[in-house]
């Protein structure tokens, strides 16, 4: 039976292909709707994966792409990565002009070869082969064929029928031939929205997918674009056999095969860390000492070799060398915590400012980063082990608010990391401002930042003094003629609060017209960057991390000046946030300005974007509004 099917496949497929191919090599056959907003059009993208056994698969790709202009060159998709376990069997590209005549053919040996060491990584054994071709005209079409053999089946190539922004797809197919007898799991997302057909159990076809434009505040591409993920329930990664029926099994395999046996520590450090933590009774206090010890002992160095960069360095090596990558440093911290009897879990996560989840409903190799979880009551304390300076338990802006995989002795488990709510992400600015009759201003400012805002502010302390002054001149770039007189910082890691004390002077802050002084009482926290206007927005939008700003400024007005005009109190409440401001006369020569701005975290439909933008515009307007002082003389 199986034989029969394969025969049909062999006979029919090539015929179908040649007829189809010829038509697709010409630019002129691209349907009009696929040219819109596109720098490149995928004419055909056939992805075929043959699973030969639990430890061998072959990926074959035939791809025709028409590049419409020079911005489309990066979409050509003719770069292939390889390493010891991935070998390139076939690689060939042919270039066609606009009318589909062949102008060049590039064989495997004419592809350029280079090491693939990403920025921030000291060494990696991954390499790349890529097509070096200078287009002589636009549009042009590339027919690319590759065959790649994997001796590691941990990652089954997935599928994104829409490859990114500004690229459309005429036809793309994805097909798995499973000869291994092992169950394959597939998960598709957003396929219905794009009318992607299911041709068979492991076979899909997408056609006529128009190009998407990128828009500000849009969610991660995979949230709304079609994505297919595939994985083998039994697989092998560089000689280590794994099983993957669910997250529990997968986590168990990962822990036992890749992680747990790397946690042995030398006797010396065992005693040392026990002695250091002996005096404190609670687990949290012990963990704090261990974390501090690790931060002082190590630094982040990324070296990616073997097992696809998934196996941590031995804890003993991290201890000896004093460095490691996220896996090595996390694992080392865990080993130290084991020693002092504090439970912790190695955690696989997507790291980055954009929030991306480990898919709770689909177990497979996912994630880009590793952190450590310490169970605490019903929650967790999250430790970022690659930072030498981060406060204990601080994970804002990089690993917060997302699903992650923790490796427990019972197996893997998906949990959600700490959410930093707007009220926690507080920036409190207070200032004493003294104004002169010429409009000059002297001010003493204090800013206290917490939560996500702590992360945005604390960085300044590591800069040289000259750059710190420049930093504040940029921070208040709308104040001209600004001189920083003094700066001081206090980093309270225990409560995770950063305090900045700045005193500064700005000549002609208030503009003088005749006998009047005009100034904006919101001196130190002016919202700008109005979200881009789209005449016809296509994508929904999200605010990943809301925040809360509170400002209180006391303004001493110069002698012999009266207040001529003050603005009215403002209160705006919208689904996106809240804005409140008021200015009151404290005495004849003193005003107090209060402002509160709260931006909510949330996901919204594209129809709400205009309202969101209008809210922002109103805030900007109120933030800039000015008062008038009039000379009595």
């Amino acid at each position: 039976m199986i034989k029969f099917y394969r025969l049909i496949f062999v006979l029919v497929f090539p015929l179908f292909c040649t007829a189809q191919t010829e038509k697709l090599l010409s630019f002129h056959t691209i349907p009009e709707n696929l040219r819109e907003n596109a720098n490149a059009v995928v004419r055909l993208d056939d992805n075929h994966i043959e699973i030969k056994s639990f430890n061998k698969m072959v990926y074959t790709n035939k791809r025709i792409v028409t590049i419409l202009n020079s911005s489309g060159n990066s979409k050509v998709g003719t770069t292939v990565g390889y390493d010891e376990n991935i070998s390139i069997k076939k690689l060939e590209a042919r270039i066609f002009n606009a009318s589909g005549e062949e102008i060049k053919k590039i064989k495997k040996n004419d592809f350029e070869d280079m090491s693939a060491v990403p920025g921030g990584t000291l060494y990696s054994d991954s390499r790349l082969k890529y097509l070096r071709y200078t287009p002589t005209e636009y549009p042009y079409t590339v027919l690319f064929e590759s065959e790649i053999e994997f001796n590691s089946t941990g990652f089954v190539p997935g599928w994104r029928p829409i490859e990114g922004y500004f690229i459309s797809t005429e036809q793309a197919t994805y097909h798995i031939s499973n000869l291994s007898g092992i169950e394959i799991k597939i998960k598709t997302t957003n396929f219905e929205d794009f009318k992607i057909e299911k041709l068979g159990e492991l076979s899909y076809r997408a056609s006529n997918l128009e190009a998407l434009k990128s828009e500000a505040y849009s969610p991660d591409f995979s949230q709304f674009a079609p994505v297919l993920k595939a994985t083998l329930t039994t697989f092998e990664m560089e000689g280590v056999k794994g099983s993957n029926a669910n997250w529990r099994d997968f986590g168990k395999w990962m822990n036992e095969s890749l992680v747990s046996h790397t946690q042995t520590l030398p006797a010396g450090v065992k005693t040392e860390i026990k002695n250091l933590t002996a005096a404190v009774p609670s687990d949290v206090e012990k963990a704090k000492i261990v974390y501090q010890y690790m931060q002082n002992k190590t630094r982040y160095i990324s070296v990616q070799v073997g097992i696809g960069g998934w196996k941590p360095m031995l804890a003993a090596d991290v201890h000896r060398l004093g460095y490691g990558d996220c896996k090595g440093l996390t694992n080392y911290t865990k080993a130290l915590l084991n020693e002092v009897g504090v439970e912790s879990y190695y955690t696989v996560i997507h790291g980055g400012p954009d929030i991306v989840n480990i898919d709770p409903s689909f177990s497979s190799i996912q994630g880009t980063h590793v952190i450590l979880a310490i169970p605490q009551d019903d929650d967790f304390i999250w430790l970022e082990c690659t930072s030498q300076t981060s406060p204990f338990g601080y994970n804002a802006n990089f690993t917060d608010d997302r699903d992650a995989l923790i490796l427990t002795p019972e197996g893997g488990k998906i949990v959600h990391t700490k959410i930093y709510r707007p009220s926690e992400n507080l920036l409190e600015t207070t200032a004493d401002i003294v104004l002169t009759a010429d409009g000059d201003m002297d001010a003493k400012i204090q800013m206290q930042s917490y939560g996500t805002q702590y992360g945005y502010h604390e960085d300044v302390q590591n800069k040289p003094a000259k750059d710190q002054a420049l930093h504040y001149k940029d921070y208040w770039n709308y104040i001209n003629n600004l001189d920083v007189i003094s700066m001081g910082h206090r980093n309270d890691k225990a409560t995770i609060a950063f305090t900045e004390d700045i005193s500064l002077r700005a000549k002609k802050y208030a503009s003088k017209t005749g006998d009047r002084l005009l100034l904006s009482p919101n001196v130190f926290n002016v919202l700008s960057n109005v979200p881009t206007r789209y005449r016809d927005r296509k994508l929904p939008f999200i605010i990943e991390r809301g925040y809360h700003d509170k400002d209180t400024y006391t303004i001493s007005i110069p002698e012999n000046f009266d207040i001529e005009a003050l603005q009215d109190d403002v209160l705006m409440t919208t689904p996106f946030g809240e804005y409140k401001s008021s200015i009151v006369k404290l005495s004849d020569d003193k005003l107090v300005f209060n402002r509160t701005f709260i931006l909510n975290t949330g996901a919204y439909a594209k129809e709400d974007y205009e309202a969101f933008r209008n809210f922002w515009i109103d805030v900007v307007k109120h933030d800039k509004s000015r008062i008038i002082l009039k000379s009595k003389l």
Binding site: S115, E137, R299, I301, V303, P464, L470, N480, T513, I617
Partner: protein, 669 residues
């Protein structure tokens, strides 16, 4: 007697503070140091660096270039940890491969008052094959902590003749530096110190004698027997030695508006000039610029390429059949090459594929394209020559030799004028080169084998003219029209940025940073005809242009074109600011005020100058009933602002910014 004690005390004092820079002799004082006293903000300091380049001799290979590097680095804090990683670039070309040998490295820490040593092992060394020609040997030191001292030494042996630049300055300060380059008299190098460096140490040049024992083997035949005699001869020759010893070399620190910090690094640069063998015969590599021009003209992948013409003759003859003037011919050929051959993003003054191949395939490197362009111009009887250039990232050519160059364009000389053409960039026009090619001077290589220098700094000001019409409505919105015309570099940038934009994207781009604006009828004229100035026009409706306080109305005449902040915020500079070209911007603003309002006050006319008349800002305001007129010009004649003029220039910009933010005040009547 007294003087002697003083002297002794001084000597002892000096001795106790002098350091031992032998490998392994790291002192407790070095480990205890918490900051560099001369530069307290430094995250790390090179306590000692010794760089030696010399030539070993052995009878099999002859002279082999050897470089010994020794560094001792102090790390003060976590931001200095990067200095515990070193990358050695190792060149390779087929069997000609450089080798790194004798790598030895140790980390020193002070633990409970005792010095603890940790040696670098194999697991900290990585060899990355970057591509066919380059390997990176990297290592990172073990057991790094705040306060650590690291020390490493290694040797590079090289089969290549050329000597790499010797860096005398790093991103962190150096306390003690020693560098020497010793070259046998047979190899003659020109040596230069980067003239843009702000720190220049004392450099000593001496001649030293060197003696080598050369073993030779002689075999003599005498009838049936042959005897072999070994003899050892002494061979004496001179060496040219360059030495630098310096203390407290300042760190090379980055600044805003510096595109390539490396341009300012203190370093020794070497050019191989000629070889003189022991018998006295010379082989010249480069001596004078004319010599360079002659040599290069003979090279097959430079001069040889200029001589080929049959591959294009037919096409170019056709192309020029109706052309009358030289200028017409130049433009036709320039456009023809641009459309015919596309740049593959590779630099070089010698061809990669050869002009013929490039012509056939439609792509090539800089030399393929611009030597072809030169050859076609010559074929059309235009006085055209190649001009060698060193790109911005490549420093400046310091001495006669081709090594300093990495780029070539075509230079046409006519009527005491030079027209420079670069066909690698589709938006380039005559004398408007890609920015990377505008660096100092280019060298014209003439057919006669002579050379001439040409200053690449653009002389003609880039002109932009903006006409801004605004009508303030009764509801304080503003309606109006804009016409913006630009030439040369400004037009080129605009075209290049907008080339792949859809209509939507163009609209997003023009509405950006203009406040609450809605733009309609946006039309870009001559976007594709690079020989015309670029003009765009649009109508706008602005909601946020007017500020109303009490019963007064405030408006900035330049609206969304007003400069919002002074771009220069630092107090002083070490390096110049390079605007690349002089410019002249003019804004002509006409504002109509609403019914029921009159002008209470207007910004006053003014003129500000920078450095006599190198820069001038002129602001002219005119009230004419309901129509207010402003003419604002910014004229910068000098494109390079030197550090000593920075304070004035910053002030000049401040005055411009302040003036542009001044408002018209309207009152109700």
């Amino acid at each position: 007697m007294k003087t002697i004690t003083c002297l002794l005390v001084f000597l002892i004092f000096h001795w106790s503070y002098s350091q031992d820079f032998r490998y392994g002799k790291v002192s407790t004082e070095e480990l205890q140091e918490i900051q560099n006293p001369k530069d307290p903000e430094a995250n790390a300091t090179i306590l000692y660096v010794n760089h030696k380049t010399y030539y070993d001799y052995n009878s099999n290979d002859g002279f082999v270039q050897v470089t010994d590097v020794f560094k001792r680095i102090k790390i003060y804090n976590k931001d200095g940890f990067d200095w515990a990683t070193e990358t050695i670039r190792v060149r390779e070309n087929g069997s000609k491969r450089e080798n790194v040998v004798g790598l030895k490295a140790t980390t020193y820490n002070l633990v409970n008052g005792k010095i603890e040593e940790t040696k670098l092992k194999k697991d900290g060394i990585f060899n990355e094959k970057v591509n066919k020609f380059l390997n990176n040997q990297k290592f990172t030191m073990p057991n790094i902590k705040e306060g650590s001292v690291v020390e490493f030494e290694y040797r590079i042996t090289s089969p290549y003749m050329s000597i790499d630049d010797v860096n005398l300055q790093y991103g962190i300060p150096i306390k003690e530096l020693e560098a020497s380059v010793r070259i046998p008299e047979y190899f003659n190098f020109n040596k230069f110190v980067n003239p843009r460096a702000t720190y220049i140490p004392k450099i000593n040049d001496v001649q030293v004698l060197r003696t080598e024992n050369v073993d030779s083997k002689n075999r003599t035949h005498n009838g049936k027997t042959s005897t072999t005699t070994f003899s050892s001869n002494t061979w004496e020759f001179k060496e040219n030695k360059t030495e630098v010893k310096a203390s407290n070399v300042p760190a090379l620190k980055n600044e805003e508006y510096v595109s390539n910090l490396n341009t300012y690094r203190t370093k020794l640069v070497w050019e191989y000039a000629f070889f003189r063998d022991p018998n006295g015969s010379y082989t010249n590599y480069a001596t004078t610029w004319d010599e360079v021009a002659k040599t290069i003209s003979k090279e097959s992948d430079f001069g040889g390429q200029l001589k080929q013409s049959h591959y294009f003759e037919e096409d170019v003859t056709m192309l020029l059949k109706d052309a009358k003037t030289d200028l017409e011919k130049i433009n036709l050929i320039f456009n023809f090459v641009k459309s015919k051959v596309k740049w593959n993003n590779y630099f070089g003054y010698i061809t990669e594929n050869g002009v013929k191949q490039a012509y056939k395939e439609g792509s090539g490197n800089v030399a393929d394209i611009n030597l072809m362009l030169t050859a076609m111009l010559r074929f059309a009887k235009i006085n055209a020559n190649p001009m060698l250039i060193s790109t911005r990232a490549n420093d400046i050519p310091l001495f006669p030799g081709t090594g300093g160059f990495n780029y070539v364009v075509a230079a046409v000389e006519m009527q005491n004028d030079v027209i420079v053409l670069d066909a690698t960039d589709k938006f380039s026009t005559p004398n408007v080169l890609p920015i990377h090619a505008i660096n100092w001077q280019g060298m014209i290589v003439k057919e006669s084998g002579t050379s001439a220098w040409y200053d690449l700094t653009p002389k003609e000001a880039v002109r932009e003219v903006v006409i801004l019409n605004a009508k303030i409505n009764d509801d304080f919105t503003i309606d109006g029209k804009v016409k913006h015309q630009m030439t040369s570099f400004a037009a080129k940038d605009f075209r290049s940025k907008h080339q792949n934009f859809s209509a939507d994207e163009k609209l997003l781009e023009v509405e950006k940073d203009k406040g609450e604006i809605e733009i309609t009828n946006y039309d870009i004229k001559d976007q594709h005809d690079v020989h015309q100035p670029l003009v765009y026009v649009f109508d706008y409706s602005l909601k946020s242009g007017v500020e109303k306080i009490g019963d007064k109305v405030f408006v900035t005449p330049m609206l969304f074109f007003a400069l919002k902040e002074n771009p220069f915020k630092q107090d002083k500079r070490n390096y110049p600011i390079d605007y690349i070209y002089p410019y002249n911007d003019k804004y002509q603003v006409n504002i109509m005020i609403p019914e029921g309002y009159a002008v209470e006050s207007m910004p006053e006319s003014m003129v500000v100058q920078f450095n006599d008349s190198e820069g001038e800002f002129k602001y002219i305001a005119n009230e004419n009933g309901k129509m207010l007129q402003f003419v604002i010009t910014i004229d910068l004649k000098q494109s390079l602002i030197l550090p000593e003029d920075y304070a004035d220039f910053k002030q000049f910009n401040q005055l411009m910014t302040d003036k542009q933010s001044e408002k018209i005040v309207l009152k109700k009547i």
